[in-house]
Amino acid sequence: MDLEALHAMSLQLRRDVVEMVYRTKDGHPSPSFSVADIITALYFEVMNIDPSNPDKSDRDRFVLSKGHACPVLYAALARRGYFPVDDLYTLRYLHSKLQGHPYAPKTKGLDATTGSLGNGVSIGLGMALAARIQKQTNRVYVITGDGELGEGMIWEAAMAASHQKAANLTVFIDNNNYQSGGTVGEVSGPYPIEDKWKAFGWHTQSIDGHDISQILQAVENAKAETERPSAIICKTVKGNGVSFMVGENSWHKRVYTDEEYRIAMKELGGVL
């Protein structure tokens, strides 16, 4: 896809999230929006995947460590053709294939079960090491939150991944500056983020996580690394794309009223 099409897709995925949350009256909208452009770049340009053969062994893998942002991931899978778009409107309903947090056995196209924070880098490292053992060239991508960096297990995995020279592992840090209880600065103090990953032996980059061209370039830079795993610190905005969601952390998990739904859809370029 060209950049224009990718940008259009990222708006589509955001509209899908609004529609899902509005219709099913549950889910995490603004954490989905901060990673919408990264997920768009991965699923519609970067990753070697085949929706008609979702389990092919040498496919690239994706792990959404901040599993609560799954509505936008589900939207990407549906738009990529893993399952019908209408299935999105079963989010969090009994017997739905779309669980409140990602559950791989139920959802075609999902590579990992996630949800409790701090676990995704380890799971991704396991996948990256499996590729090495199986002599495959596939790559593994993980998205963690910035508040999530408070989980000690992230740093266990960070130390092990550089020790193992897992250069086929790339971790995006969704630095939207908020966690459930407020700004990350107020609550947990993860800064300086890039220095920490650098100190753990990772190749690091800092980019604008809503600029798809920067995301694509950063992925290329990561692929060029042969020894070190890559951390891409993405400056993002929680709720990016809808004016009333930006700077209002209640949208971490909140349902749209009819009026909010109309405004959000309009701002995201939807036709009502």
Binding site: S122, I123, L125, E156
Partner: protein
């Protein structure tokens, strides 16, 4: 055929055997390779060992990623560092998606942890894992049975937990005895007065108890329950139907281990009087293995007393 006299070596030798036959075996080490004298495995299969350093939660997460990619990871370290420190990782990222990760927990029980003391004596592992769907839980009695259990369980669906000890266990079964995956096994049958259910490194003392009871004219069955989950409920019910009373002997807290499992079978349609021996909701302390089992209510005399109590209540 392996002749091994320790559960740790039983694990290692079985892993060597499996790795020779198939190319999906991976040993995930959290600085635990030397715990099981794994150097020969590392030498033979250097690309099949993933050394992660001391990081058990990470180790289980990595194992989840390996299994989801089609490999068969064995992660072996001390039982509590898996089932307690990495409990949530075992639940949410392995048990819930039913991935084929094999967990081998060392220092099971007071016997396994012995002089190390409570931080390294794991008396809760089986109970914790019984609550997790999809798990198979195996408690072999000696080194050779660990070897056989490893081979028997390699291909089963979902996660498997195998409890091993300190590396200093007595032999119970002759070399080559198969592991009865999923079934209870009556290993002594002197009559129908009482059933003595047990697993693991207390088994020889339960066999000794049956001999002593026979000398007193009491006919006991010694029934090994080496597969705690899925439980052979029908096999247990059939034995309870004959004896009407039972004693459970486990080197584990009596809460949610073997004793609780048998109590559940009893309560759900197979009435029998039950005496549960094991850790009585207390922690242990440092000591020699047999000395600890004697001190914490698992001596031959304790089992004899328990059997007589169960029989007395049944006949009353």
């Amino acid at each position: 055929m392996s002749s091994v006299d320790s559960t740790r070596i039983g694990f290692r030798d079985a892993l060597m055997h499996l790795a020779k036959e198939r190319d999906d075996i991976v040993f995930v080490s959290t600085d635990s390779l030397k715990v099981v004298k794994g150097e020969p495995f590392l030498e033979a299969y250097p690309d099949r060992v993933i050394e992660l350093g001391i990081s058990e939660q990470n180790g289980v997460g990595v194992s989840s990623g390996l299994a989801s990619s089609g490999l068969l990871p064995y992660i072996c370290t001390y039982a509590g560092f898996l089932t307690m420190r990495a409990c949530e990782q075992m639940r949410t990222f392995v048990s819930y998606p039913a991935l084929k990760v094999r967990f081998v927990g060392a220092n099971g029980g007071l016997h396994g942890g012995n002089r190390e003391g409570v931080s390294h004596q794991f008396i809760e592992d089986v109970g914790i894992l019984r609550t997790m769907p999809n798990f198979t839980i195996l408690c072999p009695a000696d080194g050779n049975q660990v070897y056989q259990a490893m081979l028997a369980s390699a291909d089963i669906e979902g996660p498997v937990y195998i409890r091993i000890g300190s590396g200093r266990e007595e032999k119970v079964f002759p070399d080559g005895t198969p592991f009865p995956l999923g079934k209870v096994r009556t290993i002594v049958d002197e009559g129908n007065d009482v059933a003595l259910f047990c697993h693991g490194f207390v088994t020889n003392r339960v066999i000794e108890t049956a001999k002593r009871l026979k000398e007193e004219g009491i006919g006991a069955k010694v029934v090994e329950v080496a597969t705690i989950k899925p439980l052979d409920r029908a096999g247990i019910a059939a034995i309870l139907g004959k004896t009407g009373c039972a004693v459970t002997i486990e080197d584990h807290t009596i809460i949610n281990g073997l004793g609780s499992a048998i109590a559940e079978v009893i309560a759900e349609g197979n009435p029998a009087y039950l005496v549960r021996l094991g850790l009585q909701d207390v922690y242990g302390e440092s000591g020699f293995p047999d000395e600890l089992l004697d001190a914490y209510g698992m001596s031959v005399e304790d089992i004899i007393e328990g059997a007589k109590k169960a029989i007395k209540h049944t006949k009353a």
